[in-house]
Structures are given as C-alpha cells and as structure tokens.
Amino acid sequence: MPTIVVDVMPKAELLDPQGKATTGALARLGHAKFENVRIGKRFEFQVAGEVTDAVLAEVRQVADDILSNGVIEDVVAISVDGVQVSADAPAADAPAADAPAADAPAADALAGEAR
C-alpha cells in the first residue's frame, strides 16, 4: 500500500516559539553552532491502490485544507513512497518559486526513511 508523506512547517516569516525554545536549549547544551531551529509536522498515511493524478490532487487538497492552516503554515513537501512530488498542484495559478525541487537532497532523505 503506497505511503504518502506530507511535511508541514510554520511559515518562515512567523515566530515559531517551539523552535526558538529548542534553539535556546541547544545553545545551553554547548551546541550554539546550530541556529534557527524550526519545528514542523510530518504526516504519514497510506492509500489503497495506485496513486493516480486524481488521488494526488486529493492529497494536495487534504494537505492544504486540513493538515495545514495556510495562515500560519506551509505544506513544504509531499512524497509518495519516498519520491517527492510537487506540493503545489500542477495547474495551480499560484507561483511555486520557492517550492523545493524534486531532486532536492530532502527527497533522498525521505526516501531512505520511508523504507
């Protein structure tokens, strides 16, 4: 059964209190070289059958409408069985300039983790 992973992060321009507190803790423990911790969410779920374009569109809709709140968060990545797909719908009119490229290192990391 294909596994779908949706990664959600707090918007870059907004304060992330959890990340800030964690950054402070790292510094106190002598790891001040690690800065700007931001804490996001990773959703994993499975779907019966093939992940068609229609299923993928439904995943994007669920990611945007339920799994994330566009006011405070961004869907930064969606992958199917470790292969990253665009978090934006192909026909979306919104520019996806800062969407991660499919071959970004993050995709490989996700792929490794998914297996």
Binding site: N69, V71, I72
Partner: protein
C-alpha cells in the same frame, strides 16, 4: 427568553460555565452536540473554551470540521450571533469565520491571569453593552493564544475596525497588535481568547478595586446578545 446554543465538543471544558453565563444574562441555554447537524432553532451560539479533540492537529482544527460546524458556519453567514471563547475563537479562525491564526504563546507557557482588555469595537452582537475604549477585566487562560496574521490582514482588520478587544497593560502571549479578540464585518461573529463566562457573578470573578472576586465584566457579553434578541422579538 432567547435560546442560545452552547456547542460541546469532546474536550470542551467551559461549556457549562457558558450555559450558566447565558442563564445569568436572562437567556435560555441550549446544549448542542458536536456530532449533530441540528442547531435546535437557537437564536445565537457560543463555542466554549477547552481543548476540543485534544487540540490534536492544531487547536480548534478538528472541531472546525465537525458536523455541527457546517451548520454553525452557515448560520453565522446568515447573520446569527456567534461567540467563540478561547478554544472557540481557535475554532472560528480554523473555520475561516474570522481571519488569521492562533499559535503557541510566545513565552511557551500556559498562562492564567485576570486580564485587562480595551473594548475596541462596541458595535457587535456581543459587545454593544460596552462603551468603545472601555477597560474591562476578565480571566485569560490558554497555551495557544498568540494571534498572528499577515500584514495585509492586519491592515484590513485595523482599517475596518474589526479588532474587538486589545490586551491592555501587558501583552500576555505575543499577539500581534495586542489583539485579544476580533469581529467580522457584520458584527455577528466575535471571537476572543479571554473568558467572559468566568466573570459573570460577584464572588467568582476577578478582583476589582471594590472587592475581591467581584468582577462581572463578562456578563455584558451575554447581556448584549440577549438584549438584541429580545428587542428583535418584541
């Protein structure tokens, strides 16, 4: 006597306090259940405080897509007065009845204090018994009360006078523009983080200069709604 619904979600804490506040304002509280679609012909609705669905996913997010909220959103869009308190405010923003979002308090801690507020908009279904600029004190108790919105939304809220309440004295949670509560353009939907239903009876409210626990500033929220509904029925 106006019938005012109070929605109970799994994890609601202050639903019975809200019912009691309605009773003290001479309204008739009607218990509504999250899994129903039936609003039981109520004339106004309160979404109470608490931790609906454990605040899983995001505070208010799962409650916002519960069966009753389909009806609450439709009713609010028809002009029915809706008040969201604390978790209820979070449900309102997750339902897009009010703009923006609420995140973890900037200092990361759950806070409980008697909070001074300035009434910024006294022209709503739930605030018309106040004077604009009036200072009130009601309890605040939450972990996720930081109000945020993008610049465009903030400009819209400020420009249209949709900030209903602002924190005074101290900003307890890092909310942008000290925003404690909002209303919509029609003024029928109001959401705020502090708890008016905990300041409705002398002996159980915040301290005032006159006497300990004598603060009942919260009562006028419910009286505002009851008064308008009674006037409409007359």
């Amino acid at each position: 006597m106006p019938r005012i619904g109070v929605v109970t979600f799994p994890g609601s804490l202050d639903d019975r306090d809200a019912q009691r506040a309605i009773r003290r304002a001479d309204g008739e509280p009607v218990a509504l259940w999250h899994a129903d679609h039936d609003l039981q012909d109520v004339e106004a609705i309160v979404l109470p405080g608490g931790f609906s669905y454990g605040d899983y996913l995001r505070p208010g997010a799962i409650a916002a897509v519960s069966p009753i909220m389909t009806e609450v959103v439709a009713a609010a869009n028809r002009g029915l007065p809706v008040l969201g308190i604390c978790n209820g405010f979070q449900v309102l923003v997750e339902s897009h009845l009010l703009p923006g979002g609420l995140i973890r308090n900037a200092h990361q801690q759950f806070i409980r204090r008697d909070q001074k507020l300035i009434v910024e908009n006294a022209d709503t279904a739930w605030t018309h018994r106040f004077q604009p600029g009036e200072e009130i004190v009601i309890p605040l108790k939450n972990g996720d009360g930081g109000y945020i919105a993008n610049d465009e939304t903030l400009k819209y809220l400020e420009g249209e006078g949709l900030v209903a309440f602002r924190y005074a004295g101290v900003n307890p949670n890092g909310s942008l523009n000290d925003i404690a509560g909002l209303t919509n353009e029609r003024g029928n939907v109001v959401g705020l983080m502090p708890h008016p239903e905990h300041a409705v009876e002398a002996g159980f409210g915040p301290d005032t200069p006159d006497a300990m626990r004598s603060g009942i500033d919260g009562l006028r929220f419910f009286e505002s709604a009851v008064e308008a509904l009674v006037a409409r029925a007359a």
